[in-house]
C-alpha cells in the first residue's frame, strides 16, 4: 500500500524539478555568493586581508603600489571582508556559478597607487586613496580647524619624516627654553 501513497503524493505535488541551466535560479535574500570588489570605492587599506580566515584576499606591496588580490577558489564566503570594509567596497553578490577550468580565472587583481611623502618623496606605505579618505574624515570630524590642517599635512608624510619633524620641534622647544 505504501507505494500507492508515494504515487498519490507525487501526483499531488506535481513536478518539483527546477529547470536550472535553462532557467536562472533564485537564491535567498541573504545568500552569500561571490564577493565582488568595487575597485572605484576601494582604498586598498587591507582590512579585508587581515580579516580573511583562509587568506583568499591578500594585499601586498609591489614597488610602492598596493596589489589587492582575491582567489575565489579558497574563499569560504564568510562575509567578514564585507563586515570590516570601512568604505563598503566589497560586497557578497548573489552569484554562485563560479565553476572554472583554470585557476587564473578565479583570481581578481586590483592595483592601487601608493602615496608619496610630501617631504622626502619616497613611498609612505599607504595608498593615495587612504590619505584622501583620512583628509575627508578629518574635515568632517569635530576636531578644531587649525589642528585639522596640521593633521592633514602629517597625513601625507612618511613616518621617518614625521619623526624627524617631531625631533626638530622638540629641539626647538629645548633651545627656546620651553616656549
Amino acid at each position: 500500500m505504501s507505494i500507492l501513497k508515494v504515487v498519490r503524493h507525487s501526483i499531488k505535488r506535481g513536478v518539483v524539478t527546477i529547470l536550472y541551466p535553462r532557467v536562472p535560479i533564485e537564491v535567498d535574500e541573504f545568500y552569500r555568493g561571490l564577493p565582488k570588489l568595487d575597485p572605484r570605492l576601494c582604498i586598498g587599506c587591507g582590512a579585508c586581508a587581515n580579516a580573511c580566515p583562509p587568506e583568499a584576499i591578500r594585499v601586498e606591496d609591489r614597488d610602492g603600489r598596493k596589489v589587492w588580490r582575491i582567489f575565489y577558489g579558497r574563499c569560504i564566503f564568510c562575509a567578514r571582508c564585507q563586515e570590516v570594509c570601512p568604505v563598503g567596497a566589497i560586497e557578497l553578490s548573489k552569484e554562485f556559478e563560479a565553476a572554472s577550468r583554470s585557476r587564473e580565472d578565479l583570481v581578481f587583481e586590483a592595483i592601487f597607487e601608493g602615496a608619496k611623502c610630501r617631504a622626502c618623496g619616497r613611498y609612505t606605505g599607504v595608498t593615495r586613496r587612504e590619505v584622501e579618505l583620512a583628509k575627508e574624515i578629518l574635515s568632517l570630524s569635530e576636531t578644531p580647524r587649525e589642528l585639522v590642517e596640521k593633521l592633514s599635512e602629517y597625513a601625507s608624510m612618511c613616518s621617518d619624516c614625521k619623526r624627524k619633524l617631531l625631533r626638530e620641534k622638540l629641539a626647538g622647544v629645548w633651545r627656546g627654553g620651553g616656549s
Binding site: 518539483v16 524539478t17 527546477i18 529547470l19 536550472y20 541551466p21 535553462r22 532557467v23 535560479i25 541573504f30 561571490l34 568595487d38 575597485p39 572605484r40 570605492l41 582604498i43 580566515p53 583562509p54 587568506e55 583568499a56 582567489f71 575565489y72 577558489g73 579558497r74 574563499c75 569560504i76 564566503f77 564568510c78 564585507q82 563586515e83 570601512p86 568604505v87 563598503g88 567596497a89 552569484e95 554562485f96 556559478e97 563560479a98 565553476a99 572554472s100 577550468r101 585557476r103 587564473e104 580565472d105 578565479l106 581578481f108 587583481e109 586590483a110 592595483i111 592601487f112 597607487e113 593615495r128 586613496r129 584622501e132 579618505l133 575627508e136 574624515i137 568632517l140 570630524s141 569635530e142
Partner: protein, 258 residues
Amino acid sequence: MEGLKEEVSKRIFEVLRRSLYVLRVDSGSCNGCEIEIFATLVPQYDVERFGIKLVASPRHADAIIVTGPVTRQFAPVLRRVYEMVPEPKVVIAVGACACGGGIWYDSYAVEGGVDRVIPVDVYVPGCPPHPAAILHGILVALGILEQKIRGGRYEEGIGDWRKPLAIELIESSPLEISWELYRELNSIARRMLGYLYGSNILKEYLEMLAKCRSIEDLRSAARILVEKHGRDPQVELAIDAMNKAVERYLAKRRKNGE
C-alpha cells in the same frame, strides 16, 4: 529544457556511448560538500535527468568529484584512485578545500588542494557550493555550458576614486552631522542589528537623516522607517537609540555654541 537534456545526453553518448558515471571521493572534507553533492541528486535539482549517475567504484567511473583539502594520509590513495579511473577521465574539485585548501591551506596535515596531487579539469568554489553550482560545474566539465567567471584586473587611474556613500550623505546633511556621530550610529546599528542587517538599516537611516532639517522632521521620518520594516521591535529599538544619539549630539553642539 528538453533541448538541453538531449544535447547533454547526445554529447555524453558521443564520447562514452553510455551514461556518465561519476565517482565521489572524500579526501578529508567536513561532509558539507557531500551533502550538497547529494542535494544535486534530489528531485529538485535532479542531476540524473542528464544521465549523470553516482557509482561506488573508480573502475566504473568516467569522472571523479573530489572534495576536501587532501589530507597527507589520503594523498597516495587519491593518486591511486585517479590511476584506476579508465581514460577518458575528468576531475572536478568541489568546494573551497578542494580548490585551494580552504581554511586549511597552510596546515601541515594537508596537501592544500586537489591540484597539488592530481590534475584538475574544473574547479567549483564555494563553502559549500550551491547544488546548482555543482550541476553547472559538471556541465562545464563536459563542455556543454560555458564558464561564467573570468579573471579580472583593475589599475587605478587618476581621479577615479569615488567617495563612500556615508561621507556624501554626511556632507549633504542640513543638520551638519559630524563623523563622530556617524561612528556612534554605526556602532549602535551593528551592535543591535548585526553587521549586515544593521548596515542596511544604517544606510536607510542616513539617507533619511540627510533630508531632515530638524529633530521633529527626524522623529516623524523615523516613524515611517519603522513602519516600513513591519514594526520589527529590534529595528524600532535601534532606530530609537539612533534618534537619541542624534538628539544628544545636537544638544551638545547647541551648548558648545552658546
